[in-house]
Amino acid sequence: MSSPVVSLNPWTDLSTMWSYPYLRNALIAGSIVAIIAASVGWMMVQRRQSFLGHTLAVVSFPGASLALLFALPASVGYYGATVIAALIARQSSDAQTADDRQSNATIGTVQAVALATGLLVISRSSSFLTSTTSLLFGSFLGITSNEVLLIAVVGVVTGVVFIAIARPLLLATFDATEATAMGIPVAALNVVFAVLLACVVAATSQITGALLVFALLVMPGATAQILTPKVWKGCAISVGLGLGILWLGIGLSFYLPRLPLGFCVTSVGFFAYLVSHVLVALRSRPHLQGNVA
């Protein structure tokens, strides 16, 4: 494949990328994943559950390697492992949202056990190196049309569930007492959200690999949180950022083939995060105020 040249005309560049079938799949699947990861990830940031999110992301690795061992479809491993881990991590916690000491230790242990299991499984298989690297760092550009279909279905289902529970979930996040008083099943919602997060993580890690899911999950939400204190506007900004980060990242890595995709996507995300910090600092400069005790 000859290295493509940038025309600096976004439309031409995009249609060039679109003309490669493998890239088309990556763009479609990536966009779906970016949307659901950014919205659910935004909620995760609001709930201060990044550690749980990251642990679920890591758990997809042993899931997939177990599936490989038993010759099952990789998706079974991804979804099975993340959902089970989400249930274990949440079941043991009495904290409503933010992770306290106990759930913190539980989540850390779950993560390490999952990874140890993954290592155990994969060290018995002959193709140790290749499969580990691809499971950890993803095979973004090797997505088949069938996988795109599965991701689309998962995307629609998780999207619908998210929209259905978003409002009560947010109330439960900020004021669990009030939510309980209003008859919202707070404990059940916590579990539902954990499972939702697990599904999104599984769908995402199938294309980005276990280690880089977290970028699509946390970066848009973290950036949106800086840009606006408004709730639903923040969610919308997060989705926009998620798509932007993904497309720019894929574009960068397409035109600069020496740079791995994971690096491009995370760098664009990190850049957006830093820029928004600077923007907010500049905006608040004229009426800078100290903290009041």
């Binding site: 913190n104 970028a215 973290a222």
Partner: protein, 280 residues
């Protein structure tokens, strides 16, 4: 069987593994109990990813891996401690930071694999999952010396550290240099991360700090006793893990260590809920 087992256990690589493993376990056990008390396990998680990038950078620059790890982990730990002071303890900020660091790691990995031959893939897996069995005697010495220094430093700051972790404002009013103490602790955590990456690997580090400390926290309400117990459990996990791995060669030592540590944690949790049920 007995003869072959004792031969395995007395082989030089096994002796090295036991010595280095014990030293590292003592340090991570102590550090872990403080990380759990301060609810900072996510920071440890982030640091372990920094370790991966640091090792890749060392590989690319031709530095000794251990040195690259130490520099990367300690500086990242201090950055996270300062960041936490400026913008409040924000897990989203930590997450964004380390997601990018990991992305940087993949770039370095790909640069290293194109510039050198096939050994890069293996060394990246070694960094991610670690192996006590492949430690050289220099590596063993580094682990022992590093852990001893880390433990001494932690011993010096331990009481003010616990005081400021329980309530920073009271400690500050009493004249404890809260910021200085937390930065000193960050350096110790960075050091512990860099050392344990050799033992259990970057990805399993969180388990080695979380599981023994989590189990110990359930057993006692004295923070110093928690620290001591966590150190003991950590050593027990490393020894049992190494022993198991020596008996069943197909089980990698890091996996065995983590699974044993997690079993301690599970047992503590289970017995606690049993006691709670009986009390009811």
């Amino acid at each position: 069987m007995t003869a072959s087992l004792s031969t395995t256990l007395l082989a030089p690589f096994m002796v090295n593994a036991f010595i280095a493993g014990t030293a590292i376990a003592l340090l991570t056990g102590a550090v872990g109990s403080m990380l759990v008390l301060r609810v900072e396990l996510f920071t440890a998680d982030a640091l372990s990813h920094v370790a991966f990038t640091g090792a890749m950078a060392a590989l690319l620059l031709g530095l000794v891996t251990g040195v690259g790890l130490l520099i990367a982990c300690i500086s990242a730990a201090v950055v996270l401690a300062l960041l936490g002071r400026r913008i409040g303890r924000s897990d989203a900020a930590i997450g964004t930071f380390f997601a990018w660091i990991l992305g940087l790691g993949t770039l370095l990995l790909s640069l290293a694999s194109t510039s050198s031959s096939g050994s890069t893939g293996t060394s990246s897996i070694t960094v991610l999952f670690g192996s006590l069995f492949s430690l050289s005697s220099t590596g063993t010495w580094l682990a022992v010396i590093g852990s001893t220094l880390g433990l001494i430093a932690l011993g010096i700051v331990l009481r003010p550290l616990i005081y400021s972790s329980i309530d920073a404002s009271i400690a500050q009013a009493r004249g404890v240099p809260v910021v200085g103490v937390s930065i000193a602790f960050a350096v110790i955590v960075g050091c512990a991360t860099a050392l344990s990456v050799q033992a259990v690997g970057a990805l399993l580090f969180v388990g080695l700090v979380a599981a023994p400390a989590g189990a110990a926290m359930r057993a006692t309400t004295n923070p110093f006793a928690t620290t001591a117990l966590s150190m003991g459990l950590s050593v027990a996990a490393v020894w049992t893990g190494l022993f198991l791995s020596g008996m069943i060669p197909s089980v990698p030592p890091s996996a065995a260590i983590i699974l044993v540590a997690a079993a301690f944690f599970g047992t503590a949790k289970l017995s606690e809920s049993l006691v709670a049920r009986r009390a009811r």
